[in-house]
């Protein structure tokens, strides 16, 4: 440091910048890096001392400081790009002073190709190399143009080997030390190649099938090509485009040397395709005798192909694929309806039409879509499949991931615990049922594998929900929440909503309520069977938010996101005594809509003893709304004796409210 004090100001500035750069980089620094480390004042100082450009001046000063007479800095060497590096003896020891790693672009690109080939397991195109480099910070400075040039250079220098041109493909590169033939791509690399491969595979099958059945081969439809591409595991992004397949087929049939032929019939929607050179007379476009027969064969064929019951849409797709199966009656569903039999809950077949027995079975509904299956072998598995899909739908409807996420936003920890336990119980039920179906061979093959996958997912959620931490005060809560949901029948619902819901007042019959509220209020199947009934809490929340007064809407708004599907009020009670007034208010709101005797007692206690006037008012309203004993008398007393004038005024309104007027407060 003493030596630097004797330095000229410009030299001292360069030395200080060098030390800053050495400290920042942890290695020797080039002239550029030293200039970068200089403060504006230091730059000005050096610039005013030398007429040369800044790099020249700095390099000159560094050379002076390196001189043995000074001995303040040293140079550990030059980089491969011929830049000398410097380090301060005060900051770095000579043995620690590494150089910046600089290699040529070509060398980096050869490494890049090696990585890409190793990663992809095949020879790579230029586009593959560019895509591989994209997003990797070590290749961030390589532009596509640089990569292209470097690849060409590396190839000319023998550092990269080339796989011979293949069809429409461009050159494929591998590092020179690898044998290109070992790295030939195992599957098509371009979209057109994929489509062509799918069509060829289908055509071979059609020819084989036709030979076995002693007829001419049928042409291939676009839909079949798309399905085959999916089966082949085509991962080209154009697969997701609506018109991707048909555009590719048009391309293949319309370029200078078409390899396939398009067959277009004015009466049919579908386009047909076959290899170029196959004439119309060499193709079969015939059909069946009756619609029932066609439908029967169609369903059997679709079910055999998909190995499961099929939807109406899939039956239509099968008909589209084979023109001979198209029904004469244009209303496919009507034709199907005349051919169908139903399988009841007891598993017995119930014929719907006497005149078309045993053609198709309707084995159930999933998400409102009927599923059909041919009678005979495999009906048990078909029923198992339907139940599996229904359970899967039930699982999706639970929105377990969303619920688990929502739980983190719950303001009442005990309610979150109750919801988690309820979710765990539901998940365990689904897992149990699925395992039973696999054990009894109701689910086999790929559906059993899918069910196993679903079991793993559901199990994971059940485990996560089951491990939900028990908050303070939650130790005494039940391990399994009450799963029985209190409900309203249609008549009860009508009586409840009639005073506040004008549309219901106009309804003459109770059954019409269903069509009015089916999408708004959750319906539950009663334990002992019978008609679906309306979830009581869901009904109250719906009506409160739709027709309620300010207090009613406010508390419903607090309660609805908090309780979710939990109907066990015991999980709310601990929060009613919480120290945080926000939590107590939310607990009061929840108890207003999840009715219970214990809850009503707690509401009255809150109304009388809570130190927050706002909570006293809400609790009084909630007790009155939930039909607590003596709630009216309590309101009368509070209207006279509560310490807060605001509460007294509100209590008087509650006391004066009769019947449904409590909704409007």
């Amino acid at each position: 440091m003493n030596a630097s004090r004797e330095l000229k100001p410009a030299h001292a500035a360069v030395l200080r910048a060098l030390e800053v750069a050495n400290t920042a980089l942890g290695r020797a620094a080039t002239g550029e890096e030293i200039i970068e480390a200089m403060s504006p004042e230091e730059r000005q100082l050096v610039a005013s001392s030398y007429k040369n450009s800044m790099p020249t001046a700095v390099t000159h000063v560094l050379e002076l400081l390196t001189a043995p007479a000074r001995g303040l800095i040293f140079s550990p060497g030059i980089t491969s790009s011929r830049r000398r590096c410097f380090a301060s003896k005060r900051i770095l020891r000579p043995e620690d002073a590494g150089l910046p790693e600089v290699v040529t672009v070509r060398e980096r690109v050869v490494v890049l190709v090696r990585h890409a080939v190793r990663e992809l397991g095949r020879a790579v195109r230029l586009t593959d190399i560019v895509a591989f480099a994209d997003g990797r910070p070590e290749y961030a400075r390589l532009t596509p143009a640089m990569i292209e040039n470097a690849v060409k250079q590396a190839h000319s220098k023998g550092e990269l080997a080339v796989l011979a041109m293949r069809g429409n493909l461009r050159n494929l590169y591998v590092p020179a030390e690898l044998n290109p033939a070992d790295y030939a791509p195992p599957k098509p690399l371009s979209w057109l190649e994929w489509v062509r491969a799918a069509l060829d595979s289908l055509w071979d099958e059609h020819v084989q099938e036709a030979r076995e059945q002693g007829r001419l081969p049928r042409p291939v439809t676009t839909r079949q090509v798309r399905a085959r591409l999916l089966e082949m595991g085509c991962d080209d992004p154009k697969m997701t485009k609506t018109a991707g397949v048909v555009s590719a087929l048009f391309d293949l049939s319309e370029n200078n040397t078409p390899t396939i032929r398009r067959i277009c019939r004015r009466s049919r929607k579908s386009l047909f395709w076959c290899p170029a050179g196959i004439g119309d007379l060499e193709l079969d476009l015939n059909a069946y005798a009756t619609d029932a027969e066609r439908i029967g064969v169609t369903v059997a064929r679709a079910a055999a192909r998909l190995e499961r019951p099929v939807t109406l849409r899939e039956i239509e797709a099968e008909m589209e694929a084979d023109p001979s199966l198209r029904v004469k009656n244009p209303a496919t569903f009507k034709a199907l309806n005349s051919a169908v039999e139903y399988v009841g809950r007891d598993g017995r077949i119930k014929p719907q039409r006497e005149y078309a027995p045993g053609v198709v079975l309707s084995v159930g509904r999933v998400r409102g879509r009927a599923l059909y299956y041919p009678p005979g072998r495999g009906v048990d598995q078909a029923l198992g499949y339907v139940e599996f899909r229904q359970l899967e739908q039930q699982w999706k409807d639970l929105r377990a991931d969303e619920q688990l996420y929502d739980l983190q936003g719950c303001r009442l920890p005990t309610v979150a615990l109750g919801r988690a336990r309820f979710l765990a119980w539901q998940s365990r039920y689904i897992v149990g049922r699925l395992r039973g179906m696999i054990a009894s061979s109701e689910l086999v093959g790929q559906w059993a594998d899918e069910a196993e996958t679903l079991i793993d997912r559901v199990d994971a959620v059940a485990e996560q929900a089951g491990k939900w931490p028990t908050p303070v005060g939650g130790q005494a809560l039940p391990e399994h929440p009450i799963t029985v949901v209190p409900t309203f029948t249609k008549d009860e619902l009508r009586e409840l909503l009639r005073p506040i819901y004008p549309t219901i007042r106009r309804l003459e019959r109770a059954y019409k309520i269903t069509s009015l509220l089916i999408t708004r209020i959750r319906r539950i199947a009663p334990f002992l069977g019978g008609y679906l009934q309306y979830d009581r809490t869901d009904t109250l929340l719906f009506a409160a938010r739709r027709f309620g007064g300010r207090e009613c809407v406010f508390l419903a708004g607090l309660a609805a996101p908090e309780i979710g599907m939990l109907r066990d009020a015991s999980f709310i009670f601990p929060a009613a005594e919480a120290a945080d007034p926000d939590m107590r208010l939310v607990a009061v709101a929840c108890m207003a809509f999840v009715w219970s005797e214990e809850g009503n007692k707690l509401l009255k206690k809150r109304a009388m003893t809570d130190n927050e006037p706002g909570i006293r008012q809400s609790a009084l309203w909630a007790a009155s709304f939930a039909g607590a004993d003596m709630a009216h008398e309590l309101a009368t007393v509070m209207a006279k004796h509560d310490e807060s004038a605001e509460v007294r005024e509100f209590a008087a309104q509650v006391a004066a409210a009769e019947g449904a007027e409590i909704w409007l407060l």
């Binding site: 920042a24 942890g26 532009t143 739709r546 406010f554 419903a556 706002g614």
Partner: protein, 316 residues
């Protein structure tokens, strides 16, 4: 340098009450009584949000249900709202979410803005909330701000005076002054400024024990504080993370901070930032900022010729 990983020490957030914070708090509280509104404006990272958070905590700590002069406050941050084209209801919904929980979509669609405001005032009254800090209010559309003003008016009509403080940057002042309905209801403006050198020195002394022991008469110490002040322009939100980085580096190197270390820590970040931006510009669709492609630019050759020394040299 690239040795084992150095994990940071867990540190608790410490709020240092500054003169600026107390000034902002007192001037704002002066207008709360009558339900007046206020605007806090200033560049990013100057401590506006921290001040709002601190004041909210203080107000809530002193709240007493038996004392009618006390009340509760809420501080929340606006996010994800359109800067233009929002509706009055969207402004009210924003506050509803912060103060009274999630707002049911059906209620939101069904009620007109004034009824929604009345509903929210009911909730605010239940919770004794009379002061709301709307942070990042520069992100709000003019219509959303009008919705908040409507809320204040409805609260006033229902005898529950409510004050809203808009905290933000961007074009907030211009936006607030665009409509007289808003401007004339703003009774207080607080402008947050960067710290000057003396304030920065005092703050550094509070934040870091090393800086607490600095001597104002020593040139080296003056240089260190000046460097920090000039580098970060007295912006507290940038100084604090920088001090954490210095601490982290010191754990690696040992010893005490000096100007070289302070500059080196800053240089590491600044150098990488510059390179990242240059690189992004170079690679973004293969274009340079001036529109030319990367391949078409020739690197500038260094000047050749003899070295010319202006003020003499000690080479000989």
């Amino acid at each position: 340098m690239a040795g084992t990983l150095q994990f940071p020490k867990a540190s608790q957030q410490v709020i240092i009450e500054t003169a600026m914070m107390r000034r902002a708090a007192n001037r704002t509280l002066a207008v709360v009584g009558g339900g007046g509104m206020a605007a806090w404006f200033g560049r990013a990272r100057l401590g506006k949000s921290i001040t709002a958070n601190w004041l909210t905590a203080e107000i809530n700590r002193r709240f007493d249900t038996t004392d009618p002069d006390t009340f509760r406050a809420i501080h929340y941050e606006v996010g994800g709202m359109p800067k233009t084209g929002g509706t009055m209801k969207s402004g009210i919904r924003s506050i509803y979410h912060a103060c009274a929980g999630r707002l049911d979509q059906a209620t939101y669609l069904q009620l007109p803005a004034e009824a929604l405001a009345g509903q929210l005032v009911h909730g605010l009254r239940r919770k004794h909330i009379r002061l709301i800090f709307v942070d990042e209010a520069g992100c709000l559309s003019l219509e959303a701000i009008r919705g908040m003003v409507l809320l204040r008016d409805v609260a006033e009509l229902e005898h529950h005076p409510l004050s809203i403080v808009f905290v933000g940057m961007d074009d907030l002042p211009a936006k607030l002054c665009e409509l007289p309905q808003i401007e004339l209801r703003l009774h207080e403006w607080v402008y947050f400024e960067p710290y000057n050198l003396d304030e920065t020195w005092a703050l550094l002394a509070e934040l870091h024990p090393f800086f607490a022991g600095l001597d104002g008469r020593k040139r080296e110490h003056q240089e260190m504080v000046s460097f920090i002040h000039e580098t970060f322009g007295g912006v507290i939100g940038e100084i604090v993370p920088y001090l954490r980085k210095v601490d982290h580096r010191l754990r690696e190197l040992g010893g005490e901070p000096d100007l070289t270390l302070l500059r080196a820590v800053h240089l590491s970040t600044q150098r990488d930032k510059t390179r990242a931006i240059q690189d992004a510009r170079l690679r973004y669709k293969g274009k340079l900022p001036d529109g030319t492609t990367a391949g078409s630019v020739q690197p500038q050759k260094p000047a050749k010729g003899r070295l010319r020394v202006q003020k003499g040299d000690d080479a000989a």
